[in-house]
């Protein structure tokens, strides 16, 4: 699929996908992920500044995927979750290092850098973030 195979489209997102770089609004203190160019709450009063996400959060909901899209077929069954980060933003990612039947809503998780998927024909390997359970929650 063209929108996934362009190298530029992969490189452009490296700061977010590899390093969790994003933006926040200094006017209201809200954190965003992915980065926003202006704050939807403050609009013209937005004061956008860079910040790096904590990578720690908890599972808000999850599913075990049995019918995958192209590039993910070899991973089934895999867990997809919506994670709420400590500082507020929510994001969607795979859970790893956990058995599907052990996943719970509210479970504390942390982000790690992982291989996400592979394109079949031209061999690009996509990397990004997944989350795994925090065994002893850090404060």
């Amino acid at each position: 699929m063209p929108h996934r195979k362009s190298l530029a489209s992969i490189w452009r997102r490296i700061p977010q996908r590899y390093r969790g770089e994003s933006t926040m609004c200094l006017n209201c203190g809200r954190h965003f992920f992915p980065p926003r160019h202006f704050c939807p709450y403050c609009r013209r009063k937005s004061k956008i500044a860079p910040y790096t996400i904590s990578g720690r959060g908890k599972v808000m909901s999850y599913t075990v995927v049995h019918v995958a899209q192209e590039g993910f077929e070899r991973q089934v069954p895999y867990v997809i979750a919506i994670v709420e980060l400590e500082e507020g933003p929510k994001l969607t990612a795979q859970l790893c290092a956990v058995e599907p039947e052990d996943v719970r809503i509210g479970m504390p998780v942390e982000m790690s850098f992982r291989r996400i998927s592979e394109d079949k024909d031209d061999g690009i390997i996509h990397y990004g973030y997944k989350f795994s359970p925090i065994l002893s929650p850090k404060k």
Binding site: S61, V64, H66, E70, I80
Partner: protein, 388 residues
Amino acid sequence: MGNVAVIGAGMTKFGELWDKGLEDLIAEAGAKAVNDANIDGEDIQAIYGGNMSAGRFIGQEHIGALIADAIGLTPIPSTRVEAACASGGLALREAYLAVKSGTYDVVVAGGVEKMTDVYSEQVTQTLGGAGDQQWEVFNGVTFPSLYAMMARRHMHDYGTTEEQMAAVAVKNHSNGSKNPYAQFPFKVTLEQVMSSSKVAEPLKLLDCSPITDGAAVVILASEKFARKLPQEPIWIIGSAHTTDTLALHDRKSLTSIEATRLAGRQAMKQAGVTPKDIDLAEVHDCFTIAEIMAMEDLGFSKRGEGGKDVESGKFNLNSELSVNTSGGLKSCGHPVGATGIKQAVEVTWQLRGEAGKRQVDDAKVGLTHNVGGSGATAVVHIFSKEVD
């Protein structure tokens, strides 16, 4: 501003239609609607056509002109409208606004999707485009997995069960078994739904709407034009369109579609009705959990009680509120760009008393509800036999 009427309705059978291309489908539905309206082609002044992704399904763009060409109506203006699975509902909305504004007296609102010319993995990929490619799909999200996460959270917060979700499929297949236009016009049992293969837990194959080819068309007209026709018009008394964040994770809630809640409220306010006044509703059951949430968001069920209500039979044909008499997306089928218009066709037939074995007794007011993606677009319309 004057009232807007539905003066004609028509649709193709929904299904895997190997012998029909996109242009055949829209031409068939268009001809049926024009004949039904008792008008001539030259009366029509503009076309609004809902289509999600002909570019990816059949490699064809420029669908506005294609529709005008296929139904022999060039050189009138023809606009393609896209809002993922709500493309049809939004085409109806744009057509409604065009008449309501006084710009046109007679317009076509159509919807068409040809989905079965590509393999199902490509359909999965394309439907994933209704979500957020960069921040959902990139990470392995499939379209069913988004609704699965809503279902999981609904179960967690309200105790909704997989059996209650399955009850939606059983009800809609029962209705669809009475609809000759349905893709799957047969009943299913609770056991069949519960034992169908897993797609994205807790959703199973029979919790999901199918891949479908089909087209549907309604003709809208100004009150002045509609009153000149021999048939009784059906009136659009409420119309609303709302948006929300593209990605599910950015929403305020995972158990409610805010866009539906707001669109429902706006449309009912405009129409001057409450949920109690509505006799039938065609709602967006792309997955069984979606119908449960729609019942809550539109005010037909208390928050968290949509599952119990469907299980109790409250939404069965000719009970308190008849929901998805056509069979819904589940049994009638879901050609994504056509679904929103099919809902309007079904409600028009119901309000005219032409719905055959699935007729709702004494139906006076009907509602349609069409959702794009996991809830980033919602479109609600309210139809009535009478108008002020």
